[in-house]
Symmetry: C2
Subunit: 429 residues, 2 copies
């Protein structure tokens, strides 16, 4: 089968993932040809600095700094540079020429996915980006293809390994956020500047991509309500644990009669929920569909080999279509999404307060919930502190974000409330 057709493959970038993709393209060429119906020739690897690649165990002749020339001679372009530019310029150039593109660039797809998909559709090229979300886990294709005959109502994912590593370590060891972050940085699980991860921005890009595919629309990352984990305290984690919950940073895309909501925030997840069992830097995506019910996809969210597996799955998919001679149209998207206002989403709150330990306080607090139409599922008073303030943890039933946040505002204004320890949402019932 391998002699039938030969396709020229250009690789842009040779970092952790790129080096593995190059290795697989070379070492595994026989199996790839058998699986895809065409042989793949790696024609070159575009890098910024040739000197920096002297130690890489690949034929040095492959490296070039002229990305444009490489792109212009390719049938398939694999972009693994990351970042907005020049990656965006290169991908546009390839698609405009009719070359198919595989990328793992979540930031770019989340910001400019609609434009790039349109460019691909116009030239008959394919654009695939399985590696952009949840590393090795096959999740975009199951959502876009396997569930295409169903209606997805909710996608809820642990899609950032760094923050899951941190939250899991806080849960396991009781340590504080800053200490665990430092440990994660020492182990290589967190970057020197961890803002994109701990601030929730990386998860927001992935949430935008998941929402776009799940709901056949276009959501960009700046439409995603985003909260990070920097304010999660050791006390939050241990109080959640005592109540049977674990705190996870969730990327949520939800479709209801009220509309589409896409959001990222740390939330309490019941320990019985499948997402609660996701430890360390692993990722998992929980999907609810009208007919399929609850599904979960679990695996490694990062790492050179794991991410390369997702890239190579896309390479085989693109090659099969090119070998068959009639590429499928890219999935049709309905109109761009107009998202629900965040204040209209429905969620549950878990509120930690310190209150004066005096008669009538609980009644006054309960009254405030009632006034805002929020009902309480449970209220736990912990041992009074030495200064005679008692600690309360209140779990609400479902309410709108607006009702819940105005409840918290009213509680904060109450004389009997000394301080609001934490306000966190609860997901996954």
């Amino acid at each position: 089968m391998s002699g039938e057709k030969s396709l020229k493959v250009a690789l842009l970038g040779c970092g952790t993932v790129g080096a593995q993709v190059a290795r697989i393209l070379i070492e595994d060429s026989g199996a790839l040809a058998a699986r895809s119906g065409a042989s793949l020739e790696l024609t070159g690897i575009a890098v910024r600095n040739l000197e920096a690649k002297r130690d890489v165990q690949l034929d040095q002749q492959l490296f070039t700094t002229d990305a444009n020339a490489l792109i212009d001679g390719a049938d398939v372009v694999i972009e693994l540079l990351g970042g907005m530019e020049p990656a965006g310029e290169y991908i546009s150039r390839a698609l405009a020429r009719g070359a198919s593109v595989i990328t793992g660039n979540k930031a770019l797809i989340a910001a400019r996915g609609a434009e790039l998909n349109a460019l691909a559709a116009a030239s008959g090229a394919q654009l695939r980006y399985e590696a952009a979300v949840a590393g090795a886990i096959p999740i975009l294709r199951p959502i876009a293809d396997s569930l295409a005959g169903d209606h997805i109502t909710k996608v809820m994912g642990i899609v950032n390994g760094t923050t899951n590593f941190i939250l899991d370590a806080m849960d396991t060891t009781g340590a504080a956020f800053d200490d665990v972050l430092a440990e994660a940085q020492a182990l290589g699980y967190a970057e020197a500047d961890p803002t994109a991860d701990v601030g929730g921005h990386d998860a927001a890009a992935k949430a935008a991509i998941l929402a776009s595919l799940a709901f056949h629309t276009t959501v960009s990352s700046d439409q995603v309500h985003t909260e990070g984990i920097t304010e999660v305290t050791a006390a939050d984690v241990s109080a959640a644990a005592a109540a049977g919950y674990v705190i996870k940073l969730l990327a949520i895309a939800e479709k209801s009669e009220q509309g589409i909501s896409v959001r990222v925030y740390p939330a309490l997840v019941n320990r019985n929920h499948p997402l609660a069992t996701v430890h360390g830097a692993f990722n998992a995506v929980f999907v609810q569909a009208q007919n399929a019910g609850d599904l979960m996809f679990y695996g490694a969210g990062a790492g050179g080999n794991a991410t390369a597996s997702a890239v190579m799955g896309d390479v085989v998919a693109v090659t099969r279509q090119l070998a068959a001679g009639a590429p499928l149209p890219n999935g049709s998207a309905d109109a761009a999404a107009s998202l629900m206002d965040f204040s209209a989403i429905t969620t549950r709150y878990w509120i930690g307060l310190t209150v004066s330990d005096e008669p009538g306080v609980l009644a006054r607090i309960a009254a405030i919930f009632g006034e805002h139409g929020v009902s309480i599922e449970s209220m736990n008073q912990q041992a009074a502190l030495p200064d005679a303030a008692a600690q309360l943890r209140i779990l609400t039933h479902q309410g709108t974000e607006a009702a819940l946040s105005s409840t918290v505002a009213a509680l904060t204004a109450l004389d009997a409330v000394d301080s609001v320890l934490s306000v966190m949402r609860v997901e996954g019932n």
Copy 2:
């Protein structure tokens, strides 16, 4: 988009799954056309007995007993009759005509998959059967497509909901197999004749399909080493629990340098393993691949709606290819698999014995393991029974099935061994 092309769909069978598929084809025709690029017209539903369908909430005009006429007028045939015949005859007829076929018929695919795939390839038709394994969980396409650029080394699945319901209930309640089976039958989780489930035969068919796709070969269900769960006792379950394990019926397909092994048996799974968290009638498939590492796919394994979701995903896939005008070739299979002899597979044993409570017994038992080249990971002696026999639970390190089973034979022959309580394998490290 829906006006572009119209395809005639024939449905064979109108049971739990078929009725849901018919409902979705009718109610959801707009969304299906938008997703797939062609409109789908349900032209008829072949049933054995028209009278039996009088109460079904579908246009009675759709029902026919003439399956062949329906097939001969169809572009796409959905077979949901189950069983070997007449399902096999109908599918062959459709594929020979060039009509594409979607089926959930695991027994038929596991027995005659290679022949039917060849028939499809010859006529340019598509044959898809995502619903045959693990209900709603997208697992066959991720294995065949998403992981096509990787090398799968092991697939290990809980693919039979009935047996997982039974084993989970035994684990949770401590009840005996027969009592839980009766309860499962009362709840509709087990059939009146539960042989196919509790004997492991249903799981064996699924293991054969998983192995064929994962290893690009042909494995039929009669090649699968199959053991059921009828001999799992409440004592096994509680002793396993005490040691930190849970007993699951696993369908295992493994590829090593020694060859391919496909097997179904109840095995101990460590409670930290993702498969241990699969409760009730849920299914999950754990996949190990060279680059992707460990993946798990989790969801509902049965039920009309859930299985219909998988069927409809295949319907959209087939329709997209037909709308694009150039179907992809079905995945290429290498030569039919010659499987490893079961005695050559490597596993770990967990052995329960009652032994005379007298000096030197443990040394004699340990010596037998040494003589067979099997090393012991742990040996736990439980409180001596009233009749002065002690109960031993021995966990071995890795050994071949041949070495492990001859160790058990030698133990059985030993005077000091009163009885072998149980022998079970341990999987998933």
